[in-house]
């Protein structure tokens, strides 16, 4: 797959359990944060985003938490399913600049 040679941290979770994927971002001026999911052979797919004026945002089975004090972002997936197995990337952006800075990614493995 596309990630051959890329040594990613891996999170293994039992099916049905909750997953928490963490990300440290680099730029204190960043004001927009996104989580992407990348399955093998596909491009990054948008999951959820959050702006810096919020601490928490919820979607369907996913929640993103933002801690600006320590520049930390997390993605929580409730009731993890086999289809959630993928590499998850966080990205940060700044209004007016458009380019994203990506984290290294975390591989989520869901165990049956």
């Amino acid at each position: 797959g596309e990630s051959v040679g890329l040594h990613l941290p891996t999170l293994s979770v039992q099916e049905g359990d909750n997953s928490i994927i963490n990300c440290a971002y680099s730029n204190s001026a960043s004001d927009y944060f996104i989580w992407y999911k990348q399955e093998s052979g596909k491009g990054p797919q948008f999951i959820i985003d959050i702006r810096s004026n919020m601490d928490k945002r919820q979607g369907q089975r996913v929640t993103v938490l933002l801690n600006k004090t320590v520049k930390h972002l997390s993605l929580q997936i409730a009731a993890t399913q086999p289809g959630d197995s993928a590499v998850y990337f966080c990205a940060e952006g700044r209004s007016g600049t458009y380019k994203y800075i990506f984290g290294t990614g975390t591989r989520l493995k869901v165990l049956a």
Binding site: E2, G5, L6, H7, Y32, I34, Y36, G41, K42, G43, P44, Q45, F46, D49, F89, A91, G93, S95, T97, Y98, K99, Y100, I101, F102, G103, T104, G105
Partner: protein, 113 residues
């Protein structure tokens, strides 16, 4: 609605050859971006088009890389001559003017031998 498409999905070339990658953004998206992930590294920004104009090309690694978006629709990224370190996956993304969320294509895996 069709998503961002990229062609080819894979390309294997020899060092010194030329390769051209193509990206078709989502219809109506003025913003188009190129990113790449080389082996063992994170996804990195290459450049940003607004319609046919290069808005930010600060991530282009060197002058062997040339991106164009004539007519403001699809874009091409040419690597000439290709070097071994250019191997990786090249992603294209697009979004509407004023939108923060970028939508990514499936990527082109480039292997330089």
């Amino acid at each position: 609605e069709a998503g961002v498409t990229q062609f080819p999905s894979h390309s294997v070339i020899e060092k010194g050859q030329t390769v051209t990658l193509r990206c078709d953004p989502i219809s109506g998206h003025d913003n188009l971006y190129w990113y790449r992930r080389v082996m063992g590294k994170e996804i990195k920004f290459l450049l940003h088009f607004v319609k046919e104009s290069k808005q930010d090309e600060s991530g282009m690694p060197n002058n062997r890389f040339l991106a164009e978006r004539t007519g403001g629709t699809y874009s091409t990224l040419k690597v000439q001559p290709a070097e071994l370190e250019d191997s990786g996956v090249y992603f294209c993304a697009s979004n509407l003017a004023g939108s923060d969320t970028q939508y990514f294509g499936p990527g082109t895996r480039l292997t330089v031998l």
